[in-house]
Amino acid sequence: MTGVDEAKLASRASRGDAGAFGELVAFHAPMARRVAYTVLEDQEDADDAAQEGFLSAWQAIGRFDTKRAFRPWLMQIVVNAAKDLRRRRRVRSTEALDHVAAASRDDPARDAGALDLGERLKAALATLPERQRLAVVLFDAEGYAQAEIATMLGIPEGTVKSDVFHGRRALRKVLESVKEEWDE
């Protein structure tokens, strides 16, 4: 979807066109679910949060300034929905995180290379602080500018830069070790 298409759809949606908003949902759903998962580390919770984010965005679309970019506006709502849900389900979320971290530490299959790259990256992400996780996912995986991420997360741009650097370094180690295993 080009920026022009997105701007047109967002403009139509802001005038109450549910079909136009549905097209925006279809385009942004994979990203919204990934970002929600980054916060919650549980697929069901991530879907609930992404859904809540989309519905909140639909409720607020009348107030959306169509001169602004739609994508960061939407993703900020999704991130907030995910953080709200995490606060409500803190116990469950902690258990999920412990589970993933434990799998990465204790699973003997890990050293044998049975865990694929995706599982290892998820496990490595789970060891990062939430802000670092979000910064590196939003920047490297989702293509947001550091200034946009700073606005979304309510932190200075320099902090985003630092979080991306540290998060990326941890994840890069995993990526490189898997690649080495593949080469052997």
Binding site: A18, D47, L171
Partner: protein, 107 residues
């Protein structure tokens, strides 16, 4: 390997793709269908809600107007009846004169 310098402002494309694959979630179409259905439902509810409040306001206005009209006609009828009974009673001084004046005016 990408440049891991903190000054590097460019996204790491290889790592980014690996993260997207790792975080990809199943049943994408079902998710989108569910959200679209919820949005359509909510849009319809908002529409209905708008009509409900407009209808409620119109009904309230109609009730107030009907009440005002009824009370006005009831008050006029009561006044007319009480004046007529006073005049027909004839016990009050000058009632006969007033009654003659009124009936002659009507003619």
């Amino acid at each position: 390997m990408s440049d891991l310098s903190p000054m590097n402002d460019a996204p790491d494309a290889e790592l980014g793709m690996a993260i997207r694959d790792a975080l990809a979630m199943p049943h994408g179409e079902a998710f989108v269908t569910r959200i679209r259905a919820r949005i359509s439902q909510r849009a319809w509810e908002d529409e209905l809600s708008g009509w409900f409040w407009q209808g409620l306001m119109a009904a309230s206005l109609a009730t107030v107007l009907a009440g005002w009209g009824w009370s006005r006609s009831a008050t006029t009828a009561t006044v007319d009846a009480s004046v007529a009974s006073e005049l027909l009673d004839g016990s009050r001084p000058g009632a006969d004169v007033l009654l003659v004046a009124m009936t002659s005016e009507e003619r």
